[in-house]
Each structure stands twice: as C-alpha cells, then as structure tokens.
C-alpha cells in the first residue's frame, strides 16, 4: 500500500507508532435466519500511524464490520489483524479489553455514554480504568471539554440532561482524553447537525495534526469524506477504491 505517503507530521510531535494491518480478512456471519452472510471478502488494508482515514460505502458494504475488527470488537472469520504491533487474533477476551483500554479510543454513532455517570465521569471513564490520579484526570477532562466547547456547567449533568450534540462532544472527549494511539469512529457525525459535526471534525483533525493520533472513520457523511486525507471505498465487502485526497 501507499500508506507511508499519508503520514502527517505526527512523528515530529510524539512517538506515535501505531498502525493497522489487515490481511485477507474474511468475515462471514449468520443472519437471524441462520443464513451465512459474507460481510468482508479478502480485505487487505494497512493504515499507518497518524493517518486521517475515512472508510466510506453504502449501507451493508462492511464499513462498521471492518472498523469493529480493527478495534478488536469483532473477530474475522479468517485473516490476520495487527494493530499497534499486536496480533489481535492471538489475544483472549481479557487481553483484548486491556488492549482497547490502553491503545484505542472509540466514538460511536449514538453517543453511547453511560447513563448513570455525569458528563465529567463519562469523559474520565477510561482514565479511571487506567488508574490515572484524580487531579490529572480532572485537569485533562476539563482541558478537553474546553477545547471541545463544552461548558463547565455541563460537567455534572447526566447524559439525559444533555443535547445530542453535547453528548457526542462528551463521547469524543472520552475517546481523546486518554491519548489513544488510534481512534475508531463509527459514523460520528451521523446524528449531529452540520455545525456540531463540523466542530467535532475540526477538533479531531487538530488532534490528528498536533498529536499525531490516527483516526479511522466509517462514514456516509460527504463532509467527513471530503476532509479525510485518505478515502477507502467499500462495496459488498470489497475495497473498491483507496485514494489519497488533496
């Protein structure tokens, strides 16, 4: 692949060495009627550290499945998955959980905050699991909230007291605040208005450029596709196009 060309200047900013390398990935699952459905067929893709990549394609093309396999949320039927030098197929459930905790950040389409935690607690959730001391946690969360334009008075509100846009900003903060090597975002702007989506995209782009965090999106959103440095197009479980954008 040509992915070396897509590296941004992240290596100047920090030792970001994460990469995603999927080879011969096949994913077959059974639908509700137990009929085998092939979601991915012989997919090969490598994403180098610091890339800002969008995976696009129509519904059912395999975007989310591909993202889930990259994030160790799902296992391929066959093929190898190496993320940040870890062979995910070789990891058990616990090791995968640890791997996700320390290496990845997820942003989901439907915000997916924990309803019984406040905005601040949701944002610091991964830091808590990582055992980061309280003063550092609070500092990082508040800094992240400020940069995402989240008002301080929202800190102690629960998700049901926040708007959709506010919830998604908190979800983005949760993914960013632990400084993961790789952030996987599954249609992060799908439920947001264009303004809020634009703000979040700006923030993610900034993180990518300043800190060298690798972003991989699955998206339908033309704005996201347009702003991605690399666009991978999937159809019927195949990569049909993989291009660098100006």
């Amino acid at each position: 692949m040509q992915s070396d060309l897509f590296k941004n200047n992240s290596e100047e900013n920090g030792p970001m060495s994460s990469s995603v390398k999927l080879q011969d990935i096949v994913k077959i699952y059974e639908d509700h009627n137990k009929v085998p459905v092939t979601a991915l067929q012989q997919v090969d893709i490598a994403v180098e550290a610091g890339e800002f990549t969008a995976i696009a394609g129509p519904s059912g093309s395999g975007k989310t499945t591909l993202l889930n396999i990259m994030g160790g949320l799902d296992r391929p039927t066959s093929g190898t998955v190496v993320v940040a030098d870890e062979d995910l197929n070789a990891l058990d459930r616990n090791q995968l959980a640890e791997f996700r905790l320390h290496t990845l950040g997820f942003i989901f389409q439907a915000y997916n905050l924990i309803p019984v935690l406040t905005a601040e607690e949701n944002a610091e959730f991964m830091l808590l699991l990582q055992g980061v001391p309280a003063p550092e946690r609070h500092e990082r969360v508040r800094t992240e909230f400020a940069s995402l334009g989240i008002d301080a008075d929202l800190l102690h509100r629960r998700p049901n007291q926040l708007s959709g846009g506010q919830q998604q900003r908190v979800a983005v903060a949760r993914a960013l605040v632990s400084n993961p090597k790789l952030i996987l975002a599954d249609e992060p702007t799908a439920n947001l208005d264009s303004k809020t989506g634009g703000v979040l995209l700006d923030k993610m782009k900034e993180m990518n450029e300043k800190k060298g965090v690798t972003f991989i999106f699955s998206t339908h959103d033309p704005v996201v596709m347009q702003r991605a440095r690399r666009l991978v197009y999937l159809r019927d479980g195949h990569i049909v196009e993989d291009k660098i954008q100006p």
Partner: protein, 408 residues
C-alpha cells in the same frame, strides 16, 4: 474499581420501583427468618429455663437408673457421702430432694401427682417455686407442721384454698399404703400447666416418712452459680461419686427431647434460612436477568472501552450486594424493633397454642436472638443472593462486544 462500584450503586436507583420491590422482598424474608428464629429460640430458652428452674437445677445426682425409671426403690441410700462430695465443690448451691409418685385428694376430687419433698430454705435457691407463691406461704419455716404447697391449677381442680387440708397417699417401699393429711400452706403459679398439675411440695422429712426412706433421699439438685461451669462440675461430681452407683446428670441429660431440639436447632435455622432465601434468590436472579437484558448495549459500550469481563461481573455482584445490604438493613431494623418490644412484653399465644404447657413453658413467649442467629442470617443471605447473581453476571460478562453494541 471505585468507578465500577459507583456505577453499581447508581444502577440500584435507575429503576427505584424494581429495587424497592427487591429490597422489600429481602426485608420481608429477613423478618420471617428473624421472627421464626427469635420465637423458636425464645421458646427453647423458656424450656431450658423451665428444665433448670423447675426440675432440679443444672445438675442432679440420683441413683443409677432413676432418671429413666423414676421408681421409689431407686434412691440414694447414703446421702451423707453425696453431701460430703458437694461440700468439697465451690460455686454451687445444692438441695436434697425426695421424689415419689402418689395421689393427692380433697373432699372434691383426687389427682395423681409427683410428691416433692424439699428442704425449703435450700430448695428456694434451686427452683423458682418459693418465688412463685401467689397465695399463702412457701412453708412456715421451722414449724415442722404437715404442710403442702400446691399449684393454682391443682387448687382449682381439688377446690381447696390455703389453710384447707389435703390427703397424700403413696405406695411405700414395702408396698404398703402410706398416707397423711397436709394443710395447704401456699399456692404457686409458674405458668406451666402440665408442671402445675403434676407437682406438689411437702417438707423433706414428711416425704421421707411417707416413703419410708428414713434419712435417704431420691436425689440432690445442684445449681451452678456460673452456668458456664456446668460441664466441668458434672465431670467433677461424676468422678467423685462414681463408686457410689450414682449418676450425675446435667439438665440436658435429663431432658432428651430438649437436648435433641437444641442439637438440631442450629441446623434447623440453616434450613429455614435456606428455604426462605432460595425462593427469594430466584426472584432476584430473574430481576437481574431483566436488568442485564435492558443494559446489553450499555455493557457492550463499557466492554468496548476496556472494561474487563470480571469487572462487569463485579459490577453486578456489587449491585446485588447493595440491594441485599439495603434489604438486610430494612429487615433487621423492622425485625429488631418489633422483636425488642415482644422480648420485653412477650407475645401471648394462649388463643393459638394451648398445648405449650406440655413443653414446660407458659403461653407467653418472649422471643430472643443470639449473635449467632444474626451472623448466620447476614452471611447466608449474602451468599445465597450472591449465588443467585452468578449466572446473570456470568452471562453478562460473556456477551460478544460487537453483538452487545448492536443490541438496541
């Protein structure tokens, strides 16, 4: 860890109505368990009290075989040796006893009774009869008159009152009919109908004369000033009196049924709590399965963000623990308040349990709880409820993350 416990605690209050139903069901179970336990323990305590304070103290020294077959021919021929042995032991009160079966009669009726010949001053330190006189006196000390103390139940049956005469009749050692007239000196009430109907008291000398015993007695009642020393005292006395063909029996030895009930008591408590809370555990397991079903997506998100499966299990255990703790708190609070009231004022079961007298207790039961009952309750209830959440929590921790996230 703290965040997992925090989520668990807040999860308890996500559906307050469901949590309150669970907490209430645990509290009701606790009340059922503690109520049953307190009443059965109170009942047993009263039986023990009756066995010690009405029937010959903590320890009885009697002729071998007398306890199993109370027979006029089984008596202590040389009481002096027993008295000497008892004198060598400190921390006890003792009293001689002549106990023979006979008949008491008045002009209005007759009844078969056990005639207890006692030394009033010494007997009053062993049994509660002297303190249970409701009419007349517990013998007029030193007069040596032919007096008898009977129960209220017997007085009513024979239609006699203090000052009136009764006739005692027995078949003595030589199988001759021996009888005498006795003036009613006092009437006692120990709230134990069966005991009252069967026991009358005369002085030791009169009983000895009736039975033809001379100086011999049937037994010696011994009461330990410190009840914890009873096993040691029994052993000590047993060793001292072994060559005399006597047997030394504790109150448990003399009350086989009570002994059996006490031996099985702890086990029966365990069975009670097991049955009660196994039923409750099923409803808790069901509730937690519903909880998990409602939160599959959320659990998936937690796992996607790096929460280990064991922490998912821990969260659910903690949630069930908090619910249990609240249920225990409520249950113990209500139970202890209600049982404390009854333990002082008693609960009169006269309308429901007229046969309690058979067991040597009155119709008023005073519930009591031991620390063991409470510890057993807390430990077993927690374990049962924890066990009820094992399957739901295991199921939750085994979800495939990707399936859980997709679940809406």
């Amino acid at each position: 860890m703290r965040i997992i416990l925090k989520i668990a605690w807040r999860n308890v209050w996500r559906n307050p109505r469901r949590s309150l139903v669970l907490i209430t069901s645990i509290a009701v179970g606790v009340f059922g368990y503690l109520g049953t336990t307190a009443f059965s323990r109170g009942f047993l305590d009263q039986m023990i009290d009756s066995a010690i304070n009405l029937h010959g103290g903590h320890i009885m020294v009697a002729a071998k075989g007398f306890n199993d077959n109370p027979n006029i021919r089984l008596f202590i021929r040389e009481p002096g040796k027993v008295v000497a042995a008892l004198k060598r032991i400190e921390g006890i009160d003792s009293a001689p006893l002549v106990s023979v079966a006979g008949m008491v009669s008045s002009s209005e009726g007759a009844a078969g009774v056990l005639i207890n010949g006692v030394v009033p001053q010494r007997e009053s330190r062993i049994t509660v009869i002297s303190r249970s006189i409701i009419e007349g006196d517990y013998f007029l000390s030193g007069t040596g008159a032919a007096e008898i103390v009977i129960s209220r139940a017997l007085a009513e049956k024979l239609n006699v009152t203090v000052g009136e005469k009764l006739v005692l009749m027995i078949s003595d050692l030589d199988n001759n009919i021996s009888s005498g007239a006795y003036q009613v000196a006092g009437i006692y009430d120990v709230s134990s109908s069966d005991f009252e109907k069967a026991n009358v008291y005369v002085t030791c000398e009169h009983a000895q004369a009736l039975a033809g015993y001379g100086d011999a007695v049937t037994a010696f009642s011994v009461k330990a000033l410190d009840p914890r020393r009873v096993p040691k005292l029994k052993k000590q006395l047993g060793e001292a009196l072994a060559p005399e063909r006597l047997e030394v029996l504790s109150w448990r030895d003399r009350n086989k049924l009570l002994d059996l009930a006490l031996s099985l008591y702890d086990f029966s408590l365990f069975v009670t709590i097991l049955i009660l809370f196994t039923a409750i555990a099923f409803s808790i397991a069901n509730a937690f399965l519903m909880v998990i079903y409602e939160r599959i997506h959320e659990l998936g998100i937690m796992m996607a963000n790096g929460v280990l499966p064991r922490k998912i299990r821990l969260m659910l255990y903690a949630e069930s623990f908090f619910v249990t703790l609240l249920g225990l708190g409520l249950g113990f609070g209500i139970s202890l308040a209600v049982l404390s009231y009854w333990s002082v004022n008693g609960l009169d079961l006269a309308d429901f349990a007229s046969g309690l007298g058979t067991f040597g207790v009155g119709s008023v039961i005073y519930p009591s709880l031991a620390a063991f009952d409470i510890v057993l309750g807390v430990v077993v209830i927690n374990l049962i409820i924890l066990a009820s959440v094992i399957y739901p929590s295991f199921k939750a921790s085994r979800f495939e993350v990707v399936d859980a996230i997709r679940f809406v």
